[in-house]
């Protein structure tokens, strides 16, 4: 009998601090599997965000760097330009990438930096207590929109992936989801593509990952996955954007 599924080498064998059912755990594993499969563990440099995944470097067993909140794409730009032989990626939440870091994200994309971005969209600020994020859905209740997000006062859910796709220097953008094992397989394929694009010097690649935050969506884990399938992915359609 052969072991056909187990812990990737690039993931440390330690328990994570994530809540039960949190999508960050799955996304971390996918990144680690891809690093193992591409044989780039000695070459890869992660840039961790501020957000629930702030201590991603405690979980990944390869080189990692921490960026100030939202600045990951700028930090990754610096690392990649100084060390073009390394594979540099950022891992960022929606608050990090699409609120405080909008500026850095857009300009890195517009310059066509040869980096890869794993963008975790869970429609809230998890780390700080479930406040409204740019990606919060209309009507979605958060700590700062107790009656639900209203377009008139908080604006519409920000589709940063579609916005970035319009920039000429952007190579690849895809939106995936972690709401079922089948979607997890597709998500892995897309993230792997983003890494491969960098290996092949093709330029800026970003994968947006719809990911559950059962805690601040106030749902059991399975209901959170169903909510991604039935509600969130209607606002943020899955598939290749560019």
């Amino acid at each position: 009998m052969k072991k056909i599924f187990s812990y990737p080498k690039s993931l440390k064998n330690v328990p994570t601090h994530y809540c039960p059912g949190c999508g960050h755990g799955i996304a971390h594993r996918l990144v680690a599997e891809i690093v193992d499969e591409l044989g780039i563990r000695e070459k890869v440099i992660a840039v961790a965000p501020v957000g629930c995944a702030v201590v991603a470097y405690d979980y990944w067993d390869f080189d990692c760097c921490e960026a100030a909140h939202g600045r990951a794409a700028a930090v990754a730009t610096g690392i990649k330009r100084a060390r073009p032989g390394n594979i540099v990626f950022t891992y960022q939440g929606d608050g990090d990438l699409a609120a405080i870091g909008t500026n850095e994200t857009i300009h890195a994309a517009n310059r066509g930096e040869n980096i890869s971005i794993v963008f975790i969209n869970n429609a809230v600020y998890g780390m700080t207590g479930g406040q409204l994020a740019p990606t919060t859905l209309l009507g979605q209740k958060t700590a700062t929109t107790p009656e639900g997000r209203k377009a008139g006062s908080e604006g519409f859910p920000l589709k940063i992936s579609e916005m970035l796709a319009r920039l000429p220097a952007v190579k690849y953008i895809e939106r995936v989801s972690l709401h079922s094992p089948q979607e997890v397989i597709k998500a892995k394929k897309a993230i792997k593509q983003a890494f491969l694009n960098q290996v092949n010097n093709l330029g800026f690649s970003l994968v947006e990952v719809l990911s559950a935050c059962p805690t601040y969506w106030d749902m059991p884990a399975k209901n959170a996955l169903d909510w991604i399938r039935d509600v969130m992915s209607k606002e943020f359609p899955l598939g290749r954007i560019k």
């Binding site: 009998m1 328990p15 755990g25 094992p181 399975k222």
Partner: protein
């Protein structure tokens, strides 16, 4: 026959693996694990397909699959 092995003490009891096992082989254990969580257990007499759906969805890498 294929089988899975669950690292009980990693389990956070999110129950996602239970929802996706097509054979209904996974259930909640009665005793608590080291984390103070009721982990899941597998029915070792059931016919596991080795499909790894449980392992793919587990956010905490608790499940190994053998085929």
């Amino acid at each position: 026959m294929p089988k899975i092995v669950i690292q009980k003490d990693r389990c956070k009891g999110c129950l996602l693996c239970i929802s996706f096992c097509p054979r209904g082989l996974i259930s909640v254990d009665k005793s608590l694990n080291k984390r103070g969580v009721r982990p899941v257990k597998v029915d070792t007499k059931g016919e596991c397909l080795g499909c790894a759906l449980c392992a793919l969805i587990c956010p905490d890498c608790c499940i190994e699959v053998f085929k």
